[in-house]
């Protein structure tokens, strides 16, 4: 399979701090790839290296087949986590400007900018200044600026943050559209439900180290099954469920993992006696659970390593 992006033990240090530690990763062409990880885990640094804003201290990068990402800058689209626009510029101008910076010629960029804005519901805003727009609209304008030059690889850093549900759906559709057009999309997110819904591949990075990477089913494979429970009643009783290893109680929904050898049927019986069960599911864990557990395990490992030393 051809790769849109390949990292081989890429490391980036800032002074004594290692932001990305020997990261190896392959992103196949035409897929949607989710980057997961806590704040400060190293996602943004990884993305910045892909965008050749930073240069790795060691390891090799291959972006769209080129070892130097700077050479293919014009074929990449990038929406950074911190989104900003020139407040005084008109929306059509700024979208076109981003296009021109990516090497589009003047008239094509101007036309395309107007067309995109109109297509995504901002037709009335072409001649309005960016400062007059709401946050969601501003973000939309920025995304359009990211994709105006029809990049082969699009990297979106936290594209869903700060968006209302309607705009989240719009963003999701936009990402899916790009996949349909054969582009590769990488996005980072804290919203596990988004990753789970639209990603073909996910990877997780924690404290600068890669924890796992692969398709969603690969990532979930071999992990403990868990109970997905929708319920009514006092959730505090769930903690007393016999044989429960971990309980993630969300108030109306809970994810429960049992100790090795415990029977989920028994648990169901006990649950019926204590709360109103609305839905009971015994299946592979959510990405949320995997994420939280990975963080826990990694921290324990680090703590243990610290003790040994």
């Amino acid at each position: 399979m051809e790769h849109a992006l390949r990292l081989q033990s890429v490391t980036k240090r800032f002074g004594s701090f290692t932001a990305v530690d020997a990261l190896s990763l392959e992103v196949p062409k035409g897929c949607i790839y989710g980057f997961l990880g806590q704040n400060g885990a190293g996602k943004t640094t990884t993305i910045r290296m892909v965008m050749s804003i930073f240069h790795p201290d060691s390891g090799t990068l291959s972006v769209l087949g080129h070892p130097d990402a700077a050479q293919v800058k014009d074929r990449l689209g990038y929406l950074p986590e911190e989104k900003g626009l020139y407040k005084k510029m008109k929306t059509a101008e700024i979208v076109a400007y981003f296009g021109k910076l990516k090497g589009m010629d003047r008239s094509t960029a101007n036309l395309k900018a107007k067309e995109l804005l109109t297509r995504y519901g901002l037709g009335d805003w072409l001649d309005k200044r960016c400062e007059a727009m709401s946050k969601g609209m501003g973000q939309k304008v920025q995304v359009l600026g990211t994709i105006i030059h029809e990049p082969e690889l699009v990297i979106l850093d936290e594209p869903f943050s700060g968006l209302d549900p309607v705009n989240r759906d719009l963003m999701r559709d936009l990402i899916l559209d790009m996949k349909r057009q054969g582009r590769t999309v990488i996005f980072s997110t804290h919203g596990m439900e988004h990753a789970e819904q639209i990603c073909d591949f996910v990877m997780m990075i924690h404290k600068s180290k890669l924890q796992f990477a692969g398709t969603l089913s690969q990532v979930k494979q071999g992990r403990d099954l868990g109970i997905q429970l929708d319920y009514d009643g006092d959730g505090s009783v769930l903690q007393r469920l016999p044989g429960a290893l971990r309980v993630n109680d969300h108030g109306k929904h809970a994810e429960i993992f049992l100790r090795q050898g415990q029977d989920p049927q028994q648990a169901l019986r006990w649950l019926i006696d204590h709360v109103v069960v609305k839905r009971f599911d015994y299946r592979e864990p959510s990405l949320h659970e995997i994420f939280v557990r990975t963080v826990d395990e990694a921290n324990q490992k680090l703590a243990a390593a610290g003790m040994e030393r």
């Binding site: 965008m51 804003i53 626009l85 020139y86 005084k88 400007y97």
Partner: protein
């Protein structure tokens, strides 16, 4: 690749040009200057008239001696000034200094009625000088070289302001019949109430004693009325005393004459010519240019700093960096805002030229040769070159500083040392204009941060050609170096958030290739 730098520069330029504040800035500066120039003139015009009264102690004494009518004589002297005396002098047979002889020749026949009667006898009133002669004299005096007849011109100015002073006669005030002590009491009350600005008491025996001449006013700061009236009184009293001593007016004139060295300049053949107002102007013109240059460089560099910090704080920088390299971005910014600054300075220069042109047209009589230096293409060209080089140097420094800070406030703190340095060319401005080839001027010329200002300042000298060459090369080298360093700092600093880096860290970035 350079294409992207151009795109960035173009955007910066257009964005600045399109703001209202930019155009306000372009207009505000010349308007401010015009206002400050006009304000003095208008304020002088707006000054209220000052009413005064005079008590002549001599008039009340019955003897009617030499002092009789003293107040009236002083009044006449004050109102007509020395212009009449000068006319009489020109009409006399005395030998006159060059410039004045020429005026006498020009006026020719008009002086005839005064000729020959330039009486030596003070008892005989001198012939009246016709108003048109006085006015012609006036005109000619204005065109004389600055130094000559300076004293006369000052007096002439005092006469022009004399319209402000309004005499109220005692009869008009209804005090004529009262004894002097009572007159003074009543006048004092009027001064206190503000009905009169002041009153004078003219002594009874000016030939013997002057200690009973008094000026009563409750305004202690504006002494112009007192000086104006006092000067006239002095002249009248002098004339009285000369008459008493039987000294002819011509002798007195000779005795009073002051030595005024005529200022001349020498050319390479040793020939001399009179220093004109234009010469003086060209000596001082560099100061105006330095000041303008200073403002232009600071304005543009500040603009750049604000822009960098704003762009960094609104996070747009990362999007840009995914399309252009940090170097392209930095240079695009510097050039774009440099073009903005250049537009600003050229607009100012055009305003200045227009202003001079309008002034020449509005006030045809006035001598604006002093401003001629402003139209010298060499000055203008060197101004543009020094602006560009100076701006580039400061721009590189400020963009480097701006890129490591997160807010304008932080940036301002870092800027302070730069501004302290920038004060040096301003405080040394006057000094360097006076000594354009002095040691201080020469040494400061070789400090690249000051080169544009100091060399502009020395233009009146002018400096040797080799100095121009070496200082410009030094300046170019520092611009190049500053760009390199700023590029390295910018590359790292522009994406940093949190605390500004320590100096040690910045030095570390510089060492990285």
């Amino acid at each position: 690749m350079a294409n992207k730098t151009l795109l960035v520069a173009q955007r910066e330029y257009l964005e600045n040009i399109r703001t209202k504040t930019f155009w306000i800035g372009i207009l505000a500066f010349p308007i401010l200057i015009a206002i400050s120039l006009g304000a003095g003139y208008v304020l002088a015009k707006l000054k209220q008239t000052q009413a005064y009264a005079v008590v002549d102690l001599g008039n009340s004494s019955a003897d009617g001696g030499a002092a009789s009518g003293l107040a009236e004589r002083i009044e006449k002297q004050a109102r007509s000034g020395d212009m009449a005396a000068l006319a009489r002098l020109l009409a006399s047979d005395q030998e006159l200094p060059g410039a004045m002889a020429e005026i006498a020749k020009d006026l020719g026949d008009q002086l005839a009625p005064l000729r020959g009667k330039a009486g030596d006898d003070p008892a005989v009133a001198p012939p009246e000088v016709p108003d048109d002669v006085r006015e012609k004299l006036f005109e000619r005096l204005q065109k004389l070289p600055a130094d000559s007849l300076q004293r006369l011109m000052q007096e002439q100015q005092a006469m022009a302001t004399a319209k402000r002073y309004q005499r109220r006669s005692l009869a008009e005030l209804g005090l004529a019949e009262l004894p002097p002590t009572e007159q003074q009491q009543r006048l004092g009350q009027m001064v206190q109430k503000g009905e009169l600005f002041a009153y004078f008491v003219v002594g009874a025996a000016p030939n013997e004693r002057l200690d009973d001449f008094r000026y009563v006013s409750n305004n202690f700061t504006d002494n112009s009325l007192r000086d104006w009236y006092g000067t006239a009184a002095t002249k009248v009293v002098q004339r009285l005393r000369l008459a008493e001593a039987k000294i002819p007016a011509s002798v007195a004139q000779r005795l009073r004459e002051e030595v005024a060295f005529r200022a001349e300049k020498a050319d390479k053949d040793g020939k001399t010519s009179v220093v004109t107002a234009a010469d003086k102007g060209s000596g001082f013109a560099p100061m105006a240019f330095v000041y303008l240059l200073w403002i232009a460089v600071i304005t543009a560099a500040q603009m750049l700093l604000t822009n960098t910090v704003e762009e960094k704080s609104n996070r747009i920088i990362e999007v840009l960096l995914s399309s252009v390299s940090p170097g392209q971005l930095m240079q695009g910014k510097i050039w774009g805002i440099g073009a903005t600054g250049l537009t600003l300075t050229i607009s100012w220069a055009v305003c200045a030229l227009l202003g001079i042109w309008v002034a020449e047209w509005l006030l045809p009589g006035t001598d604006l040769t002093a401003l001629a230096a402003a139209k010298d293409p060499l000055y203008l060209a060197s101004f543009v070159v020094y602006f560009l080089l100076g701006y580039l140097l400061y721009a590189a420094i400020l963009v480097g500083l701006g890129s490591v800070t997160n807010s304008l406030k932080e940036a301002q703190n870092l800027l302070q040392p730069v501004f302290v340095l920038l004060i040096i060319p301003l405080v040394s401005m006057m000094f360097i204009v006076q000594e354009p080839n002095g040691l201080v001027a020469k040494v400061l010329s070789y400090v690249p941060l000051f080169t544009p200002f100091i060399m502009m300042n020395r233009a009146g000298g002018p400096p040797e050609v080799y100095e121009y060459v070496i200082t410009t090369l030094l300046l170019l080298a520092s611009v190049w170096l500053a760009f390199r360093f700023a590029g390295k700092i910018f590359r790292v600093g522009v994406l940093m958030t949190g605390n500004p880096p320590k100096l040690k860290e910045i030095l570390g970035w510089l060492r990285q290739s």
